[in-house]
């Protein structure tokens, strides 16, 4: 590959809090130099990147890649292609595949598939319990040996608090991380959207925010009690943000993520029975949305993850009550998150921290840095680029997003993963 000389970028490295304008020289798949006094070699490709940002390759710690088992929705190849198109060079994949990732064979399969696809790195999350059934623990040590970076029964909560306690205690002994899909099923079951004004207007059974708050509180209590590390997935309520904020202040080892739809949309998005806005947890109220934004602002919420959940029209184009939960998010996350910068909620550096460094830190993964000498793993972001979310522009195999047809602002224009250009709109 010809050396690449990216000029006049805003270089963002959250680890060192570096935020400067300068140039980056990429040679032999490595970041050869950073700064404003680089003398590039002769055969270099010069690219003027004025107005653009360079950030470490983003990491999405919550995606559903659907392979093995539901390749018609997404494969590891199409999912990682969507990832790099969105600026992500690493993703953590949830275990609710078919078969469930509860054995090292499935974990290894996922990693190998990602390597042979050659776009983004995939870090498998294995299930907490065998078959996601909530009855017996998966073999954590064996799974970690095969490459699992965390454990979650995502899609379902671990309903039995005794089982969750066991999982946390056992994980603690191994230094493993438990990711909680916090949902009290006795309150949520049968619900298909947030319980409130819109559920009444649409005549649909709602999910009260208490279903999330209670589950978050329960898991935070158990994390405190066991001393284990806990990560709360897809925070969507004002109550959950407050509980996590308080727990952190008390020294509980808890981290949290939210998804762009929880700070970009409210329950109003499902008006007209729009199944593409049907997610779990559901889109909430404006008050919840603002609380999520506050949580991001003050660091209560450590990570922006997408909960990328591809579904084909078979699962989506039907009655709202029976349509599947979930929306794709890898390619819309960055433009939606950039709104937080435009609104003055986060500095660019803090945004990148939540989308690159923090997820890696929480999962214990190296990288998330822009520094000379390391393998080039970065993305170039044009915060002003406009793009239309449509079939032609999306790399994901599925199209289930409420942003379909909308124009969004800001996107990754170049993604370099492990020294290789995997997404390029620059030349």
């Amino acid at each position: 590959m010809r050396p690449i000389f990216l000029q006049n970028l805003r270089i963002l490295d959250p680890e060192t809090r570096l935020d400067v304008t300068g140039d980056i020289l990429i040679m032999d798949g490595r970041i050869a130099a950073i700064g404003d006094e680089i003398s590039p070699p002769d055969d270099v490709r010069m690219v003027d990147c004025s107005g653009m940002w360079a950030a470490p390759g983003l990491m999405d710690m919550h995606v559903h890649l659907r392979e093995p088992g539901e390749e018609y929705k997404e494969t590891i190849e199409t999912g990682t292609l969507a990832a790099v198109a969105g600026g992500f060079t690493a993703v953590a994949s949830m275990p609710n595949t078919n078969p469930v990732n509860d054995t090292s064979a499935v974990t290894r399969f996922v990693i190998e598939r990602a390597i042979s696809a050659g776009y983004a790195s995939v870090y498998p999350v294995a299930s907490i319990t065998k078959g996601l059934k909530g009855k017996e623990l998966s073999e954590f040590a064996d799974l970690m040996g095969a490459g699992a970076v965390a454990f979650s029964d995502d899609g379902y909560p671990v309903s039995d608090p005794g089982m969750m306690r066991l999982a946390l205690e056992y994980a603690k002994g191994l230094g493993a991380l438990i990711i909680s899909h916090a949902e009290e099923l006795a309150l949520s079951s049968g619900g298909v959207l947030n319980e409130g004004r819109i559920s009444t207007i649409l005549g649909l059974k709602g999910i009260p925010s208490a279903a999330e708050d209670i589950a978050v509180f329960r898991d935070v209590c158990l994390a405190e009690f066991t001393g284990a590390r806990l990560h709360i997935a897809h925070v969507s309520t004002i109550g959950a943000v407050q509980i996590i904020r308080q727990a952190k202040a008390m020294g509980v080892k808890v981290t949290a993520e939210t998804a762009p739809h929880y700070f970009s949309l409210t329950e109003e998005a499902v008006l007209g029975y729009d199944v593409n806005a049907k997610v779990n947890p559901p889109l909430r109220t404006e008050e919840d949305r603002l609380a999520v934004i506050d949580g991001l602002r003050d660091g209560t919420i450590d990570v922006i993850a997408t909960d990328h959940a591809p579904h084909s029209i078979l699962e989506k184009e039907k009655e709202f009550e029976t349509a599947a939960n979930g929306m794709i998010g890898l390619e819309t996350a960055l433009p939606l998150a950039l709104e937080l910068v435009r609104a003055g909620v986060l500095t660019p550096l803090e945004l990148i921290r939540r989308m690159s460094l923090n997820p890696r830190k929480i999962l214990g993964i190296q990288g998330g840095r822009i520094k000379p000498g390391g393998a080039a793993d970065l993305c170039v972001i044009d915060p002003e680029a406009m793009f239309v979310v449509n079939r032609e522009n999306l790399r994901s195999r599925s199209l289930n997003t409420p942003f379909l047809g909308k124009t969004l602002k800001g996107r990754a224009v170049l993604t370099v993963s492990c020294g290789k250009i995997v997404h390029n709109l620059l030349w």
Binding site: G190, E195, K318
Partner: protein
């Protein structure tokens, strides 16, 4: 000829005040057909109406069928058991297949809220009438309720309407609240708090916990049917207690304004929502509601198929 502003009748929200007035006036004139010895007029001759019922409902289905036949339309009725849904066909495919056979109107009753909206999105020619979708709406029932009230009390605006019972799961209540509020009535709802939808004010009603407060000075008192089990849970401790706290007894009815009427969308759990003497008493218009249902549905059918009227 006047037209409705909406091609389909999916929700009361789709209809303006003018639309509703037009429907009620049309029903008024068409109702005369029902009193003639030969109860048939020609305006919808050659038109085809499909009644697609994914949920059993003898009364609503019969009412629509009679309304269509009175106006000389051809009707076909399909019920859930015979439908291809059991063979795995999706509602969208059903919609496309029905559309391919060129009916003029599809009357849909479906257990999922929003089903008629989904079907309407796939109907390029035919009009869709929501005959009850999940716990969402039952707009034609609300229109016949408006019609019944107007017949008995002469007006809708300024009336106090009390609706007592399971508001959350009643599609009739969801449509009635919207419809009465739209026509200028003040709607009060009451019942056990377990049976209120959250933020019911969004529909245009005021919540009062004590049924007496709702009934007091009311011009219209409507009791709703209690469905005992929801998601495997009873929302009330028992029907005996319900009848004693929320049942429409003669005692409670005395709180209403003189001349107030008593309504119920039926079928009634005798002695639970309404005491038998009230149900069969002089203020009950429950059977008028049934009669008026045919006239109102005749009006709706002729107005969404206006060219031949």
């Amino acid at each position: 000829m006047n037209r409705l502003s909406s091609r389909h009748i999916l929700s009361i929200s789709d209809l303006g005040q003018k639309d509703i007035e037009l429907i009620l006036d049309t029903a008024d004139s068409l109702s005369q057909i029902l009193t003639r010895p030969i109860k048939k007029a020609p305006p919808l001759r050659g038109r085809t109406i499909v009644n697609l019922f994914f949920e059993p409902s003898t009364r609503t289905r019969l009412s629509f069928e009679l309304a269509a036949k009175r106006l000389s339309a051809d009707t076909v009725s399909v019920s859930a058991a015979a439908s291809s849904v059991v063979k795995g066909e999706t509602l969208i495919d059903t919609a496309k297949n029905i559309e391919a056979m060129r009916p003029d109107v599809v009357v849909l009753r479906h257990p999922c809220s929003g089903a008629s909206h989904l079907m309407a999105r796939y109907m390029e020619r035919a009009a869709v009438i929501n005959a009850g979708d999940g716990m969402n709406e039952h707009p034609t029932q609300a229109l016949l309720d408006l019609f019944t009230v107007k017949r008995h009390l002469g007006r809708l605006s300024g009336l106090k309407v009390a609706i007592i019972g399971d508001i959350a799961h009643s599609r009739v209540a969801h449509s009635d609240i919207r419809a009465f509020a739209k026509m200028g009535a003040d709607v009060f709802v009451s019942g056990p708090a377990t049976m209120f939808p959250s933020q019911v004010e969004a529909l245009g009603a005021t919540v009062v916990l004590r049924p007496e407060d709702a009934i007091k000075e009311a011009d219209v008192v409507m009791a709703l049917r209690i469905q005992k089990e929801r998601q495997g849970r009873s929302l009330i401790p028992g029907v005996r207690e319900y009848a004693s706290v929320y049942g429409l007894t003669s005692e409670r009815l005395k709180l209403a304004r003189p001349g107030a009427i008593v309504m119920h969308p039926g079928p009634v759990n005798r002695g639970v929502e309404i005491a038998p003497q009230v149900q069969d008493g002089p203020f009950s218009v429950i059977l008028d509601q049934v009669t008026n249902g045919v006239a109102v549905r005749m009006a709706i059918l002729s107005l969404i198929l206006p060219e031949t009227v």
